[in-house]
């Protein structure tokens, strides 16, 4: 007789014994810290003085497990990165689970463990959380939400209004890895590849940059919508144009091949472990050097510059063959194409 895997029941979210067991046996041991262990209605945190940065994000990725990460790691790194690119040192996160009835407990364990590992790697604590279960069909397996707070580093004073003509655009590494990996493992599209998501927390790298390099004007992580979306946001928000050079943009050959096969533009493809920084011309070299000294910034490159706007602020790409084209804001979901 085959053993049936243990599964989530609606009662696991019901506030009774089953829920208590779930918390005490599967959650607390993994995230153990004094604040969380109190199981208070709210976490009490003593924070260093300074400006608090606060963010939240929900995670509904499919598939839940992919090469290079899973929804648990993503939920921690994603929120860590939102704080990191805001110039903050991430300190504490909340973690909320919405789990579909029937979800395998073994899978939940893997997700929780990987969230805990990611939190430890990124030196943040999960200090509060919530678990809800919903009837079969009301959610797709499991959804996660994390919120995070951090303290802004005193010399990280970022904003698109600070961007000036002549500033350099720095990209911390290869693009398209996460988006193409997810796609290659998605139901209905799946294809064999060696692709791996770049999912990683960037706070250690960004904090060291802010501590050592003056004149970083702006930073953002090019997640959904990819580099194209982030650069268009820079153009729109700064009222200045952005000119980038395709030859300087690092892309792994296997990512480019997959994108070409499906008819995707790597510029529009999601990343989960990269940032784009706009840096003063004087600081650009130092910023690049420090990035390349860090494992997560080894492939960093200066990919372009902020230029005067002619008619309207836009992002222009100088292509590999020396042609020029405009990089538009992507319009949501891209679809694989035929022919």
């Amino acid at each position: 007789m085959t053993a049936h895997p243990e599964r989530i029941l609606l009662a696991h979210g019901g506030g009774g014994q089953l829920m208590s067991r779930l918390i005490h046996e599967r959650i607390l041991p993994r995230f153990r810290n004094d604040t969380l262990s109190e199981l208070g209605d709210a976490a009490r945190l003593a924070l260093p003085s300074g400006e608090i940065c606060f963010t939240t994000d929900s995670y509904v990725v499919k598939p839940l497990f992919f090469r290079g990460g899973d929804i648990g790691k993503l939920a921690v790194c994603g929120t860590v990165n939102d704080l990191a690119v805001s110039g903050a040192k991430p300190l504490a996160l909340s973690l909320s689970l919405i789990i579909e009835e029937g979800f395998e407990l073994a899978l939940l364990d893997r997700i929780l463990q990987s969230a805990a590992d990611a939190a430890r790697h990124n030196d943040v604590r999960i200090v509060t959380g919530d678990t809800k279960t919903v009837e079969r069909g009301s959610a797709d397996g499991i959804f996660l939400n994390t919120a995070g707070i951090g303290v802004r580093l005193s010399n990280a004073d970022l904003g698109l209004s600070k961007v000036r003509v002549g500033d350099q655009v720095l990209l911390s590494g290869t693009i398209g890895d996460h988006g193409m990996t997810i796609l290659s493992q998605r139901e209905g599209i799946r294809f064999e590849s060696q692709l791996e998501s770049d999912c990683a927390g960037l706070a250690e790298l960004t904090c060291s940059l802010f501590a050592n390099v003056a004149d970083i004007r702006f930073m953002r992580d090019p997640t959904r919508g990819g580099l194209a979306a982030t650069l268009n946001e820079v153009a729109e928000g700064s009222h200045l144009s952005v000119e980038i050079d395709e030859r300087q943009i690092p892309v792994r050959p296997e990512v480019q091949a997959a994108a070409d096969m499906l008819g995707f533009d790597v510029l529009n493809t999601a990343n989960e472990g990269k940032f784009v920084a706009v840096v003063s011309p004087d600081a650009a070299g130092e910023c690049l050097r420090r990035c390349r000294d860090h494992a997560l910034g080894r492939d960093a490159a200066l990919i372009g510059a902020i230029v005067e706007t002619r008619d309207a602020p836009l992002v222009e790409l100088r292509t590999k063959i020396g042609g020029r084209r405009i990089v538009q804001m992507p319009y949501g979901r891209e679809l694989p194409r035929i022919c």
Partner: protein, 356 residues
């Protein structure tokens, strides 16, 4: 690489000067369209070289009548639609497959094999594969039809909208657009039908035909070769995609197309009815024909008012001349198919900047 481009630019300049008039070249392959836009090829050409994107995007050339037939299938409870991603946002008279997909009976597949697999996994549903595309995708449809026949899969059907590229090129040159000086011939299609297939265009219409792959440098070199011929007053068939394309093409693929399909008169968006231009399943595979099985008409559809995709496809206007372009018709809210497919001319214009 940059040397080759400079050399090609010189040839193009010289030809324009010698001819003393603009040169109009049409590409008939959606992948060429995308590559040209994505790499900024237009920005490297002399002002007087005009590139037209012709009927090369499988979604764009599909008639509204076919799209409406797809929508009728999507509305049926007993049907599961398997489609290439391109088709999912094409607007029918009432909504698109994307809006229908919310009911869960539309699946995006990457290959015809995935569609047949859906049929095996869902014996209680009639799985209909939306079989569109040119000679490149037709062999894949033929293969699964034969597989389904061999296995006795009874719940698998295809709705063939497959098109042939040569009849469309002939139709264009037979009065629809006499400004076309030459064709940049498709890479993928030529792999199947062979570069020799375009000889009839060269002979009958005296138009240069040059086959190219998808590297932007090769595309520019093909344009230069075309301009050289035009300046010399000759029309020749050439292939720069020599490594991949042979003169006779892929005989096995041609064989399986011929075994399963026969060319019939078909409707094209913008081009209307073209004789022997569309592939229909042969009688012996009639049991897999979704048109017959579900009683669907394969007639001309009513095109959306104001949409000028048809004229864009014929190279008669540029997208920017359509009043809907970038106004009511954008990639978020496409009105016509040329805005839907990523390789559609309007979409490429919108996405990669409307410089030229």
């Amino acid at each position: 690489m940059l040397d080759r481009i400079t050399h090609a630019q010189h040839t193009l300049e010289e030809a324009c000067t010698k001819l003393g008039r603009p040169i109009t070249i049409m590409e008939v392959c959606g992948t060429h369209t995308v590559s040209i836009f994505r790499s900024g090829v237009r920005s490297l050409l002399p002002e007087r070289v005009k590139l037209l994107s012709g009927p090369g995007c499988p979604v764009c050339v599909t008639d509204q009548g076919y799209i409406d037939a797809v929508m009728q299938l999507a509305d049926r409870e007993d049907c599961l639609i398997a489609t290439y991603g391109d088709m999912i946002r094409v607007p029918g008279s009432n909504g698109s497959l994307e809006t229908r997909a919310s009911h869960g009976n539309v699946k995006v597949v990457l290959s015809s094999e995935d569609a047949l697999q859906l049929a095996r996994e869902n014996p209680g549903k009639n799985v209909v594969f939306i079989a569109v595309g040119f000679e490149t995708t037709a062999p894949a449809s033929a293969v699964v039809v034969k597989e389904a026949a061999a296995e006795g899969v009874e719940n698998f059907f295809i709705l063939s909208g497959h098109k042939l590229v040569l009849p469309a090129m002939r139709a264009l040159l037979s009065g629809m657009n006499d400004r076309i000086d030459a064709f940049l011939c498709p890479g993928h299609v030529s792999v199947i039908i062979g570069s020799g297939a375009f000889a009839e265009i060269v002979e009958d219409y005296h138009r240069p035909c040059v086959v190219a792959g998808f590297e932007p440098v090769q595309i520019i070199e093909a344009l230069a070769e075309i301009s050289r011929q035009l300046a010399a007053g000759t029309a020749e068939l050439k292939s720069l995609y020599g490594a991949v394309v042979t003169e006779k093409g892929n005989m096995a693929a041609q064989g399986i197309i011929a075994e399963c399909f026969e060319p019939v008169d078909g409707y094209w968006r913008g081009l209307g009815r073209i004789a022997k231009s569309t592939l229909a399943l042969r009688r012996q595979y009639g049991q897999f024909d979704a048109f017959g099985r579900f009683g669907l008409a394969d007639g001309p559809g009513k095109e959306t008012r104001g949409c000028r995709c048809g004229e864009v496809l014929c190279g008669l206007i540029e997208p920017i001349q359509c009043p809907l372009f970038a106004a009511r018709c954008t990639p978020q809210t496409p009105v016509g198919p040329c805005m839907v497919s990523s390789e559609g001319t309007c979409s490429a214009w919108f996405k990669y900047g409307r410089r030229k």
